[in-house]
């Protein structure tokens, strides 16, 4: 037998009250009479039945106590476990997705309601009714394996929190089904979510839907990118969408390192979205963290999507050395780039020690005689003459492959560029820490080779810019600028903004903090970066990434329309959790309540017939 409401045991504390009330009821009503003469005689005859009279008192008390015990028993909701001879296995799928943080009018979140219901289920755990908990978030996982002990279940539920990530409900239900497949007896899945499953499952699913408010305004995109014309400035893209049923007029505040820098008023019809661009934000300086955040000034159902984070890469001083006998186009390009300090030397004035002092060195038609790829220090761009030349000159090469994902060729379009001739470059095999790629190719010939060893980088352009019409194209300054900034250490895509729950594979040199930061502490102490390997942030904010002593920040956001759209919340069919035992067992409380009611009728009848007192 299982008691679904064991707290009702406390009702037994009221038993003395029942007894006290009974004796209080025995306090006789005082009535004034003219004489006792006849009452005494009548009562004397009654006293012959004193034994039965006392018995009636006892019977009355016993009836009251029995009624009370039956009611207390009914409150405890006992269930006969006759239907679960083989045991029951139940998997609680606890929705921990970001949308579960939505609050209702009373201020309680959907997740709190779900946990409360889950606790009610967990208290039913026993040897013959085992529970497991599967958390539904970005990566569904078994939080508690099957157990008949309610303690680990309740411990998990008391510490569980809704994440800021989206998740796949079907994956979680699939995991729950996999868990149940190995079990015998009654098998069920209890889904505690604000949404019903979208697909059939192999086992019965009890959906305990959690209702909540539907009004929500969300930031669905927030990103920065350097301006191609000036990599030291970035533009900010902000997209806000109204998932509510009423038009919204509010404002969005943009902050940089915690200081408001812009406010934009927005008005959104139901279901509409607006996209804003904040142009020409200067990169953060050395003392800056580069934290950029956007906040919707509206208190709606889901707060997690009202705040978004992004980072601006810190500005670095870049000194570029052009070693050339004279190159009109390269000189003009480098002079025009305000983000670099350009210097020029003739090849005979160059020395290896000098090259290490610059962020990047461009060798125009010149390879130093003492250049050694294995020992070389510095970042180099070779133009026309390169260390990777492998064969004869290629006449009129066509650009056939362009890796737009590579930092050097990002946003570069070389379609219909005419190249008079180029060298045949061989992409070196990886070795001595170097790795190479060819982001620009002409069939099998590499036109651009890029290599990296740690923070050291090298690039080789197979043709003289003067032997092509490239300088006349928009792609030329982009190509040179991308390459120079890449050589200088800029990695615009190295630390992209992540969505919560997205896995980021860290390099061996990288470590990341476990917890995000959203506000800068007064003491300046940041969370230590001590996690290595794969990293899956589940909270929005700025994560501290450390690599070779250099700190950077990666922003994490929810950015999920499925999480922000609360309008599809299911209507709950039950305000409280439907006990599993009531599904798998035989509830007794109704019969106890009926028995109590029958006894109450009997007591009432007996009392009015003076069978009891």
């Amino acid at each position: 037998m299982t008691f679904l409401s064991p707290w009702a045991v406390w009702a037994l504390a009221g038993l003395p009250v029942v007894v006290a009330l009974y004796f209080l009821r025995l306090r006789r009503r005082a009535i004034k009479v003219s004489t006792h003469m006849f009452w005494q005689r009548a009562a004397n005859q009654t006293s012959r039945f004193a034994f039965f009279h006392r018995l009636r008192h006892l019977l009355s008390l016993l009836l009251h106590v029995a009624i009370f015990l039956l009611l207390a028993g009914a409150l405890a909701k006992p269930v006969m476990d006759r239907l679960i001879q083989d045991g029951a296995s139940v998997v609680i799928v606890l929705d921990c997705r970001a949308r579960m943080q939505a609050k209702d009018a009373a201020g309680a979140t959907r997740f709190q309601c779900a946990v409360e219901s889950a606790c009610a289920y967990a208290r039913e755990a026993g040897d013959r009714r085992q529970f497991a908990i599967v958390k539904l978030d970005a990566a569904p996982s078994v939080a508690v394996p099957f157990t008949g002990d309610e303690r680990p279940l309740l411990d998990l539920l008391q510490t569980a929190q809704a994440s800021d990530a989206a998740g796949d409900m079907n994956a979680a239900l699939g995991l729950a089904s996999t868990l149940l497949e190995a079990r015998n007896g009654e098998r069920r899945i209890i889904l505690l979510s604000d949404r019903a499953p979208s697909s059939e499952t192999r086992f019965p699913v009890i959906t305990h839907a959690i209702p909540a408010a539907a009004e929500n305004l969300a930031i669905t995109r927030f990103a920065t990118r350097p301006l191609p014309a000036n990599p030291d400035t970035s533009e900010v893209l902000l997209e806000v969408r109204n998932f509510g049923v009423a038009a919204v007029k509010t404002s969005v505040e943009l902050s940089f390192d915690g200081r408001p820098i812009d406010v934009k008023n927005i008005t959104l019809a139901p279901g509409a979205k607006t996209m804003s661009v904040f142009p020409a934000l200067v990169k953060s300086g050395r003392a800056s963290r580069g934290w950029l955040s956007a906040r919707i000034e509206k208190d709606d159902a889901l707060a997690v999507d009202n705040l978004a984070f992004a980072t601006l890469p810190p500005a670095r001083s870049k000194r570029v050395l052009l070693v050339s006998k004279g190159s009109f186009f390269l000189e003009r390009i480098l002079e025009a780039d305000a983000s670099v300090k350009f210097e020029m030397l003739t090849p005979d004035a160059y020395s290896q020690e000098l090259g290490a002092k610059f962020s990047a060195v461009i060798f125009d038609g010149f390879v130093p005689g003492d250049f050694d790829l294995a020992k070389g220090q510095g970042n180099f761009l070779f133009v026309k003459n390169t260390p990777f030349q492998a064969g004869a000159i290629v006449e009129n090469p066509l650009v056939t492959d362009l890796d737009s994902a590579h930092p050097t060729t990002r946003n570069v379009s070389l379609r219909n560029v005419t190249i008079l001739r180029s060298a045949a470059l061989a992409v070196p095999l990886p070795g001595e820490g170097w790795s190479f790629s060819a982001p620009l190719r002409s069939f099998d010939n590499a036109l651009l080779v890029a290599g990296q060893r740690g923070s050291q980088r090298i690039a080789a352009l197979a043709f003289d810019v003067a032997d092509s019409d490239l300088p006349l194209r928009v792609a030329f300054p982009l190509l040179i600028s991308n390459t120079v900034h890449w050589l200088s250490g800029d990695e615009p895509d190295a630390m992209p903004s992540l969505t919560a729950g997205q896995t980021m594979n860290l390099s061996p040199a990288q470590k990341v903090s476990a917890e995000p930061m959203t506000t800068w502490p007064r003491d300046g102490q940041v969370h230590p970066a001590n996690l290595a390997g794969a990293f899956r942030p589940m909270r929005n904010g700025f994560y501290h990434v450390a690599e070779s002593g250099v700190s950077r920040w990666v922003a994490v956001n929810t950015f999920s329309e499925s999480e922000s759209d609360l309008r599809s919340a299911e209507k709950s069919s039950a305000a409280t959790a439907q006990p599993v035992a009531s599904l798998t067992g035989w509830p007794l409380w109704q019969w106890l309540a009926i028995a109590a009611f029958a006894l109450l009728i009997a007591e009432w009848w007996a009392h009015h017939r003076r069978r009891t007192e």
Binding site: I31, K32, V33, Q40
Partner: protein
């Protein structure tokens, strides 16, 4: 009987009806003054009583001259003397007589007894009888001396309106002893009481009879006493002693109670009938006119 409500009972029409009534004495008593009631004393009324031989000093006009003509002896005609009658009212003023059911608005037992006493006193006064009124409880607690003539009816009413302040338990025998000791003449005595005396009523009534009083019993009861309806767990507080009695009253107990009080009242009636005592039982809910004009006449107290 202090309210004007009671005074209205004695309106002129009712008093006129009362004047037509006479207290019915079962015996003939000797009076002190001439009145409208026959007595054994010979006097000067028109009612012939007897003859006796003339003796010196008799009035000449009382000689029966026709008898002298036939018998040649002087006889004097004797006439009955119409004398007054001592009529006493013993009104029970004990605590039990002051009891009335909770919430009852009408007159209680004591009020009813006082009204009856007032009505009978008026009849007696109208017949030039000598009236005395006594409040009794554990003894005679207060009394009104002899009144005579209708003009003193208001004195009777005033006395009845001012009962003794303290209510004591009933002792009929003690009250009867006190009354008989004080009474100078025998006569009619009306005992108005509920007769709820744990010591019994028999000795008291026997004592009054032994003292040559023509005794009339008027038992005044509350209907709620005859047939109580209260049920449940009761603590009955006796009005006279203040003692409590815990009773669980149900229908069977109430039936036994009704049987007991009915037997008690029947015993009183039987006792009175055997002893030649007039008996009438009155309940407070009876119309007062019916009580005086019907119940008491049926009880052979009035004619």
């Amino acid at each position: 009987m202090a309210s004007s409500h009671e005074d209205r009972l004695f309106d002129s029409a009712f008093l006129a009806q009362l004047e037509q009534l006479h207290l019915l004495a079962r015996r003939i008593f000797r009076g002190e003054q001439r009145a409208e009631r026959r007595s054994r004393q010979l006097g000067s009324s028109l009612e012939f009583a007897d003859y006796r031989e003339y003796s010196e000093g008799d009035e000449m006009r009382s000689i029966d001259w026709p008898a002298y003509a036939r018998l040649e002896r002087l006889f004097v005609k004797l006439y009955e003397q119409e004398q007054d009658l001592a009529v006493s009212f013993l009104v029970d003023a004990s605590a039990s007589m002051h009891w009335r059911p909770e919430g009852a608005q009408r007159a209680g037992k004591f009020d009813t007894a006082r009204r009856i006493a007032a009505a009978l006193a008026y009849i007696a006064l109208a017949n030039l009888d000598r009236v005395s009124v006594h409040f009794i409880a554990d003894t005679v607690v207060s009394e009104l001396g002899v009144m005579r003539g209708k003009s003193q009816f208001h004195d009777v009413l005033d006395f009845l309106r001012q009962p003794p302040a303290s209510t004591k338990p009933t002792s009929l025998i003690a009250s009867a002893r006190a009354f008989t000791r004080r009474a100078k003449r025998s006569g009619m005595v009306f005992v108005l009481s509920d007769f709820f005396d744990p010591a019994g009523y028999e000795d008291a009534l026997a004592l009054l009879q032994h003292a040559q009083f023509d005794t009339h019993v008027i038992q005044v009861l509350e209907p709620a006493e005859l047939s109580p309806v209260e049920t449940g767990d009761l603590r009955l507080v006796e009005s006279e002693s203040g003692a409590s009695l815990e009773v669980t009253a149900n229908e069977s107990v109430l039936d036994r109670y009704r049987s007991e009080i009915a037997a008690y009242n029947a015993g009183l009636e039987t006792f009175c009938r055997r002893r030649g005592i007039s008996h009438a039982s009155v309940t407070c809910d009876q119309p007062f006119g019916d009580v005086v004009l019907k119940t008491l006449r049926d009880g052979m107290m009035l004619k």
